[in-house]
């Protein structure tokens, strides 16, 4: 599904390389954690997969296609294949839960009415159907994050990328979110998640890639 081949990344104003000669393969349907200390390069891997950053050297494949040289006009269509989840969830506070979740469908020129079925389905999946007409401001942190997940899955992407999705949550809520990801994965979704939380990784029994100063130092199932 995703393949890094000798990928290096040096940011324009960076002191050293954020990624150095990274090669890795993530198969379809796999669930993978990216771990490592702060600044190790976890987010950089996700930024490269999502097309936010271009690599300095090496090649990245997505579904067999080389995405290293995507043009600006191709990028939006490529991004529709990916669902993204963030630590700060990036919800639009002046829109309802339904409107937030519907966004990936609305940008494909669907009307709200047409999007509604998929929206309800996604909210059901994350257990928030009852909050469909609420504004995100009135939701708890865990609920906000689940809305973010609903938005990421609503358009049925091939891959979910999550950057510290439990970073702002306490242990119980993290467990809750984690089991949601595991459930999505068992439905067949490919999931790549960057996290600090090694307990979470350990309890999941999934593949974990550890980075250190931009290099892969271990890649195993715990």
């Amino acid at each position: 599904m995703i393949e890094f081949s000798n990928v290096s990344k040096i940011y324009p104003h960076g002191q050293s390389s954020a990624l150095e000669n990274v090669s890795l393969k993530i198969a379809e349907g796999e669930m993978v954690f990216l771990t490592g200390h702060s600044g190790a390069g976890k987010s950089t891997v996700l930024r490269i997969i999502s097309g936010m950053e271009k690599v300095t050297a090496g090649t990245v494949y997505f579904g067999g296609n080389n995405i290293t040289r995507l043009s600006k006009s191709q990028l939006p269509y490529y991004r529709r294949l990916i669902g993204m989840i963030f630590q700060d969830h990036k919800l639009m506070m002046n829109k309802t839960v339904a409107e937030n979740v519907a966004l990936p469908l609305l940008i494909k020129n669907l009307t709200m009415e047409e999007a509604m079925m998929s929206v309800e389905h996604a909210l059901q999946k994350v257990g928030l159907l009852s909050k469909i007409n609420t504004y995100p401001l009135y939701l708890s942190a865990g609920e906000q994050q689940r809305v973010g997940i609903a938005r990421a899955i609503v358009a049925k992407p091939k891959v979910l990328l999550a950057d510290e999705p439990t970073g702002n949550l306490d242990y119980a809520l993290s467990q809750e979110i984690m089991s949601l990801f595991l459930e999505l994965n068992s439905d067949g979704m490919t999931v790549v998640m960057a996290t600090h939380d090694l307990d979470l990784v350990a309890s999941s029994h999934k593949r974990s890639i550890e980075l250190q100063y931009g290099k892969v130092i271990s890649d195993l199932v715990i």
């Binding site: 987010s43 996700l46 939006p76 529709r80 990036k90 919800l91 639009m92 966004l103 940008i107 009307t111």
Partner: protein, 313 residues
């Protein structure tokens, strides 16, 4: 089949974005949008008023445009009696309303009066150098340029006539005033266009800055730039349309007030002047072009600003 459905979908989407962009005029953008629409309205109003002023002057002076009187000067060998006969002939011409004889003596009289020359001085001139002449006032339907030129050519052919002069000095003066007004209107229009462009650009940029996070999210989920830009283009269109409509409305009020005033003044002098405002076609042209220009400016501004926003994690 699916393409048709797709097309219908896109159209429906556009209509809903268009409707929503109207709402974007209010709410948290209200301050900026009000200001921008005001700038557009004022910037349009000033050229519209100039335009109406020029056109009203043109219409009011249309039948005076060519000058109203022809002076026919005779050759030296044409006596006052001859001139009088010719005058009688002219007064029977179907095109002529009035023909007045101005003998050399009459002309000398008024000439010397206007210069304050005494009889004694006149005696010094001993010979009257002025020709006999007649003044012709054509009927108003023959006061067009082509009819007058035809008449002049005809009269100049006759062997008694030295030259025919059309009194049009003031016409030239009027024309140069109108030329000046036209140039002023265009000049002011250009400056105002610049201020319109700046205010729309400024307003759109500040709205985009306010929506920066939303735009980032849209880009993250795969919205194309044109999808993100569209609402701003429609917003610009609304700016132009509403600004244009307000300008027309205010110009109508001005025309009504000024028109009534001028009508009353003219009435008290026993004449009849009507001021006209902007017509239906012009209303469409003003609102349409204003909406189009504003939409183009908004498009460029949104494109530049949105290209700068890139999502990050």
């Amino acid at each position: 089949m699916t393409e048709t459905l797709n097309f219908i979908n896109v159209c429906r989407g556009q209509i809903s974005i268009f409707r929503k962009s109207f709402n974007a005029l209010f709410g948290r953008n209200a301050g900026g949008t009000t200001l921008t629409i005001s700038v557009i309205a004022i910037s349009l109003l000033i050229p519209i008023v100039f335009y109406l002023l020029i056109n009203n002057v043109l219409v009011l002076t249309e039948n005076m445009k060519t000058g109203r009187e022809l002076t026919v000067y005779f050759k030296d060998n044409v006596s006052a009696e001859n001139a009088s006969e010719i005058r009688d002939a002219f007064s029977k011409d179907y095109r002529i309303q009035e023909a007045t004889l101005i003998t050399a003596e009459d002309a000398m009289e008024s000439f010397s009066q206007s210069l304050g020359i005494t009889d004694a001085d006149k005696w010094l001139l001993n010979d009257n150098p002025l020709p006999n002449a007649i003044m012709l006032t054509p009927k108003s339907e023959y006061l067009t340029e082509s009819e007058l030129n035809k008449m002049i050519a005809e009269i100049e052919k006759s062997k008694e006539v030295l030259l025919v002069q059309l009194d049009k000095q003031w016409v030239n003066r009027l024309n140069s005033i109108i030329k000046f007004l036209n140039a002023t209107t265009i000049g002011i229009g250009c400056i105002l266009l610049l201020s319109v462009i700046l205010s729309i650009t400024n307003c759109i940029s500040s709205i985009i800055v306010k929506h920066k996070e939303e735009i980032e999210v849209m880009k993250l989920v795969g919205a194309t730039n044109s999808y993100i830009i569209t609402p701003y283009v429609y917003l610009g269109m609304w700016f132009g349309f509403i600004g244009g409509a307000i300008a027309i409305w205010i110009s109508a009020i001005i025309v009504y007030v000024a028109g009534t005033l001028i009508y009353n003044i003219a009435e008290s002098y026993g004449s009849h002047i009507e001021i006209f405002g902007i017509n239906i076609v012009e209303i469409f042209v003003v609102t349409g072009s204003s909406a189009l220009i504003a939409a183009i400016v908004a498009f460029v501004s949104a494109r530049v600003n949105i290209a700068r926003i890139e999502p990050n994690i």
